[in-house]
């Protein structure tokens, strides 16, 4: 575009190797470095790690985490938090299973009704979170912590803690273990969710408004952005995505479970932050969130193959999350220096 030449352009000095490395780090973040380390480490620990079958299996197992992370990502972008994402998963799992098992018609109609009920329940949960944050001005941390307790309690109340069985076989065959072109349907759904979310956030006005509200709510408000509507959209989208993830998990488990998803808030926040999504809001890309979730899946899968105790996986996730937050801080500081031409 030649228009730029008509405006005075201020040049920046070129730097040394350290300067170049800093620029690269600002651009790509810490995740690619972590992924390379993980791939090398686990491929050395297990011969099966870098096989097509294992990668496919790991992605299929983690597709629900990828989708839930996308939900968490939207809320983080809007400057919020969703600690209820695990409880939404449990409530949706139970609702979907109960709706399916109560149907007497064809398996297809039972599956469709179950999925619709599940997604609507997820969206309703998101709406409740959004109303608390946007309308009642409750801190998102507190609001979603409170609703997590409510949703979890509802799931347990509906089932008395007993798994809901009697789901159509087709549900599990299609969504749990089905494939299209040799790739699991759940992986395709995760990919579809990522693409749809990318379109929403990158190519539409509401998406840009989500970024602006996360970056500076006051600036967005004064620019004529409807902050209330934007926050509601973010939380409802998160609820819908958590619901899709819950439906996939229910299909894999073949039962509706009230006790699932307890670790999802940590996993999804960790995945997003490791991917380079800012906890301060307003910064991050869909690809960052997806890669963060994939990284967490790689670590879990690699440690399983290396027969490392699952408790250690939690420790590793926590340590990596802390490192990612430190890296995010460093990246923010370096970005300012790079843009100012000091690096």
């Amino acid at each position: 575009m030649t228009l730029q030449s008509e405006v005075e352009v201020t040049a920046r000095p070129r730097g040394s190797v350290i300067s170049y490395a800093a620029r690269i780090f600002v651009r790509i973040g810490v995740l690619p470095i972590l992924v390379v380390i993980a791939l090398i480490t686990f491929s050395l620990m297990s011969d099966n790690f870098l096989t097509v079958d294992n990668i496919h299996s790991a992605l299929r197992q983690n597709s629900y985490i990828i989708i839930a992370t996308l939900g968490q990502f939207v809320v983080l972008l809007a400057g919020g938090f969703d600690l209820s994402i695990g409880a939404i998963t449990a409530l949706v799992s139970v609702s979907t299973a109960m709706a399916m098992s109560s149907q007497t018609g064809s398996p297809l109609s039972a599956v469709v009704i179950g999925i619709v009920v599940g997604v609507l329940v997820g969206m309703a949960c998101g709406l409740l979170n959004g109303l608390g944050v946007a309308s009642l001005n409750i801190n998102p941390f507190i609001m979603t912590l409170a609703t997590a307790s409510v949703f979890s309690g509802l799931a347990l109340m509906l089932t008395s803690g007993v798994p809901v069985s009697g789901l159509p076989m087709e549900f599990s065959d299609w969504l749990g273990y089905g494939s299209v072109f040799g790739i699991g349907i759940s992986i395709w759904l995760a990919l579809l969710a990522a693409v749809v979310l990318w379109v929403l956030l990158t190519l539409t006005r509401p998406g840009r408004h989500i970024y602006s509200v996360g970056s500076s709510p006051r600036a967005a408000r004064l620019s004529g952005v409807n902050e209330f509507r934007t926050l509601i959209l973010a939380y409802v989208t998160a609820g819908a995505l958590a619901a899709v993830g819950a439906v996939l998990l229910t299909a894999r488990l073949e039962t509706g479970e009230a006790n699932i998803g307890a670790s999802l808030p940590l996993q999804t926040i960790a995945a997003a932050v490791i991917g380079g999504v800012s906890l301060r809001g307003g910064a991050g890309r869909v690809l960052d969130a997806v890669l963060g979730a994939v990284f967490i899946g790689i670590v879990a899968n690699g440690m399983n193959l290396a027969q490392i105790n699952s408790y250690y996986q939690m420790i590793v996730t926590g340590v990596v999350l802390a490192l990612a937050v430190v890296a995010d801080r460093l990246r923010t500081r370096l970005a300012s220096a790079v843009y100012a031409g000091k690096v």
């Binding site: 228009l3 352009v9 539409t204 840009r208 004064l222 620019s223 004529g224 307003g282 970005a335 843009y339």
Partner: protein, 263 residues
């Protein structure tokens, strides 16, 4: 300083009052702004300048009084309503989203096409606006966080021009800027005047006021305390109106100087 001032006002306030609880922030404020005129509003802290800006920008509604814009009595319930009318505000903190780039900030809340954003048209329009203001911006695709204070002020002013407004309100546009950046911003104010816009400039800096304003309106304790033609008034007179005292340190120093010169 050329002032292509028109006799008909683009914006008039009559009897504007605003209270917050027991505190009367503004009482019976009158103000006129003509096209192609820069009106500086000055006053001490707590004089009501910020409240007046917030009323005109749609952040707070007035409790009473009348706002006449383009010969029509109007209400400004929201910032979006102010935009639609043709009143643009550049706030003291600029109200920019630091993580967003220049284009995204310029078009925030008024993006071209809601469902398939027209980024090419927005970029073209961004460069066009910045060129009109002779802006020194490295790229419209860098985050605003990477720009200097003067560059950010330029982006905020450019954004205010997007909807082709008739009145622009600048709240302390040179606060916290260096000498070169201040000169840059004052040049922008001159350009706004040349474009025939009515400009309201809130300022504490008498040098800035003298440099670009045509008229100075003084607020004191939420009330009008004089409207002066900038060519016919001294900084001492303005300070006297701001403080409400004709006998103050500035006027005393001025009197001593005059005595020294006459003797």
């Amino acid at each position: 300083m050329s002032s292509n001032q028109q006799s008909d006002n683009v914006l008039s306030l009559r009897g504007i009052s605003k209270t917050f609880g027991a505190v009367a922030a503004l009482t019976d404020i009158d103000l006129d702004v003509a096209a192609g005129q820069v009106v500086a509003i000055v006053g001490d802290n707590g004089a009501g300048k910020s409240t007046l800006v917030k009323i005109l920008s749609g952040v707070h509604p007035p409790d009473s009084g009348k706002i006449v814009f383009d010969s029509k009595t109007v209400e400004i319930p929201t910032p979006a309503a102010a935009h639609r009318l043709g009143i643009a505000t550049v706030f003291q903190d600029l109200a920019l989203c630091e993580n967003l780039n220049v284009i995204q900030n310029l078009f925030l809340g008024q993006e071209l096409r809601p469902l398939r954003l027209n980024d090419v048209a927005m970029e073209t329009r961004s460069w066009d606006l910045l060129r009109q203001l002779s802006a020194k911006i490295p790229s419209v695709r860098v985050p605003v966080a990477s720009l200097s204070g003067g560059q950010r002020q330029t982006v905020a002013i450019a954004r205010s021009l997007l909807g082709d407004p008739k009145v622009i309100i600048l709240d302390e546009p040179t606060a916290a800027l260096g000498v070169a950046q201040t000169a840059e911003v004052l040049n922008l104010v001159e350009r706004l005047r040349e474009r025939g816009l009515g400009v309201i400039m809130i300022s504490h800096n008498m040098a800035d006021v003298k440099a670009v304003a045509d008229t100075v309106a003084v607020l004191r304790l939420g009330r009008n305390n004089g409207v002066f033609d900038v060519n016919d008034v001294s900084p001492e007179d303005i300070i006297a109106a701001i403080t409400g005292a004709t006998d103050n340190a500035v006027s005393q120093r001025q009197a001593r100087r005059k005595e020294g010169l006459s003797s």
